[in-house]
Symmetry: C2
Subunit: 436 residues, 2 copies
């Protein structure tokens, strides 16, 4: 028979078992933390009607969509978990309790140009809190504690959750009459580290930004110091603009309240340079960095939005949320050696019978499982050497050997595969567990 | 703005939070059991190259495939988890330890005609044991214990795992010279309950089955009694055919060994009428029925196959596996009232502060979470009535109210929402947990 080469699409992650175990451990830690904070689970379809899914999309995003017809129906694969959430909340508005706190962990699809570490199918792990008509700013102060708990759980200490508020920059631009120029100005400001302050000023002059406006912009981007100093300096800019003032008040409130939620001061700060690309966000924005690996980019981002589902409903649904792009994060952490696949098996114990009658070995396996121990029994008819090789390759922590002698003495041989220690124990699940 | 109606495709399950909680509980129980038996996790892409995915498919299945082009690439969504497993094992052969025991729980896609209880996107929960070259028959006896453990975990007692062996019927047909007619004969036999024995005999005569052959066929389908009696009667058919004899020997072995793996006799039996539609299976086959709801069809099925990945590799990879179609099962059990969504929240406790300074309430929430309690804090600025209504709607089991008086006395008010009991307790996470 002609064989077809078994291959996986590029841009699609498919792991070997040991890496998959590690991946799942991380995913489970994220999910467990989301649950700890009382977020409700949600699982929406991967396929949606294009009309529904692309209600808002446009430009870059739309080009990346996996879109196709099945019969006469125009379908698309979801490219994030936010649009499905919008649809879900608009559709089920009457059946939900607000604030609606939900988490969703699932695969999304974007046909990006494939390159190392970029995936076309990847997991997003999202939480959002959606209000009905309004949502207190205190919720913006709670989310960093979820982020903090997750990365601590994953074994990281040296990370910083950066917060900012979109209203501050928007208000500044309004105040200096540059609202229409804002995108262009942002692009120029972004280059300051590369081209220097003078060149930025020149470029701003070229697009006819007034001297007063340039002065305010430069004053703003030169704000530095501790988070508290930044707040003081923002106040001292003396900008009389409602948006700016609201943003500053919100930022100060969020900053002051994050600590309440148990996040140590070294793990968060105000960073006026983060803005989150998307227009979507209207208030607080978050980005999270591993301090020694800033080049990784943000490993958990999100923010506050004014209106979740305006494409589907007249109801005003403000919300705040964050998202972890798990697949890319896993790839990067693995590449950097910051996480390491150590387990090659789910089993904690493998039972290796060296006798024909499998009754007692199997009974022991069943009892160990009932007591909560993941247990495998090697029941295939092989030589001891082959059986041990299997246990060894899978690095199963404990091997129980049961041969004729052991059966006669009602004992088992327990081998700790890490230390090499071997001991005889009574054939009794509870007694064996004490040694594990 | 013109609104787009927020809707979900028909044939795609999308649950309200309380049902989603229940669905996830079932999914987690299945996964936990798979792990208990030492199966390794696997997560393959939902999208594959059509050439790879459809190496074998044909007929009915192919029509149902979600297939489309992205750029020049011909892609398909997986329609089961077995083909991706075949590809995976062929691709990673050198990196796996055999027998390779893996579980996979994931969504698959089939564009079936939509009707009640039929889904186009649905979860399959699969386990398989793959051998390298050979795989002992004892593995066929182990799988029923996995099925048994799962359905017991899910709260069912009255179910039967039916086993049969494809070689028996194949051998019988070979023996009576009807190998080529087998599909036609099976179709006729299947009607016996509807049209009666005489009519079946007439139809068999019409397609020129010999009298001797008809006699053997009737003798076979009239075999009844206990599992042990069935084995005896099969032996007494005196069919001299290697396939038949191997099948009978395997069936007897599997039957005799299932008990060893801790499955009580009332939960399994030999049923010579089950055959599993697919040609795929070559030996043992399983179907599982809820005895009072046989009309549900099989809730967990599978079997033994000779060669997992022949389309991709020359390596002979025999295996045995079972699968649970979770989405349909969930729908049916829910419809019959055999499962019931009772939880509306993931939180075990909600803290409701009635004070401005949220320091202590938030600190308590953080401590409760650290102690393993899923805890929500209602931090939005609402009246007590609105806050209690939220807790009530979500049916969160315990409400902790902290007001001015409580803060002064360093206490909290703990309300058991089921009994309505209220008591004052010291503001101390550990002391509170004792009461929960």
């Amino acid at each position: 028979m002609k064989k077809i080469e078994p291959r996986t699409l590029s841009g699609f992650m498919e792991l070997l078992p040991s890496e998959q175990i590690l991946f799942n451990q991380i995913k489970e830690k994220i999910e467990r933390t989301y649950k700890k904070f009382g977020f409700l689970p949600l699982d929406t379809p991967i396929i949606e009607l294009s009309e529904v899914l692309l209600a808002k999309a446009g430009g870059e995003t739309e080009k990346q969509i996996y879109r196709f017809n099945k019969g006469d129906t125009d379908l698309s694969l979801r490219f994030d978990l936010t649009v499905p959430l919008s649809k879900y909340v608009a559709k089920n508005y009457g059946n939900l309790s607000f604030p609606f706190r939900r988490y969703q962990i699932g695969k999304v699809y974007r046909g990006e140009r494939t390159q190392k570490g970029r995936y076309r199918e990847f997991y997003q792990c999202d939480i959002d809190i959606i209000g009905d008509g309004e949502l207190d700013i205190i919720n913006d102060a709670e989310l960093p504690s979820v982020i903090y708990t997750i990365f601590k759980e994953l074994g990281f200490d040296d990370f910083t959750i950066c917060i900012n508020n979109r209203k501050i920059l928007n208000g500044l631009f309004e105040n200096i009459g540059q609202k229409e120029n804002s995108t262009q100005i942002l692009r120029i400001i972004d280059k300051i580290e590369k081209i220097g302050k003078q060149a930025v000023i020149e470029e701003l002059k070229k697009i006819k930004v007034s001297e007063y406006a340039i002065e305010k912009i430069i004053e703003f981007i030169e704000i530095s110091g501790t988070s508290k100093e930044k707040i003081e300096k923002l106040k001292n800019l003396n900008i009389i603009n409602e948006t700016f003032e609201t943003g500053l008040k919100e930022l100060e409130f969020v900053y002051n309240n994050i600590k309440l939620f148990g996040v140590p001061e070294e793990n968060y700060k105000i960073d006026l340079t983060i803005a989150r690309g998307l227009d979507y966000y209207t208030g607080t924005v978050y980005e999270t960095f591993l301090n020694d690996y800033r080049e990784l980019g943000s490993i958990c981002s999100g923010g506050r939005y004014e209106n979740l589902a305006e494409y589907y409903t007249d109801k005003k649904l403000p919300g705040v949320g964050v998202s972890i792009g798990l697949t890319r994060l896993f790839y990067k952490l693995n590449e950097l050696g910051l996480i390491k696949a150590t387990k090659r098996s789910i089993s904690e114990v493998i039972i290796i019978p060296m006798i024909e009658d499998l009754k007692k070995p199997i009974k022991l396996a069943t009892e160990l499982r009932k007591l909560g121990i993941n247990t495998e029994i090697y029941s295939n008819n092989k030589k001891l050497k082959a059986k041990m090789k299997y246990a060894d390759k899978l690095q199963i922590p404990y091997v129980i050997v049961i041969g004729e002698d052991e059966i006669k003495a009602n004992k088992i041989k327990l081998k700790n595969m890490q230390t090499g220690n071997e001991e005889e124990i009574e054939l009794d699940a509870k007694k064996i567990i004490e040694k594990i």
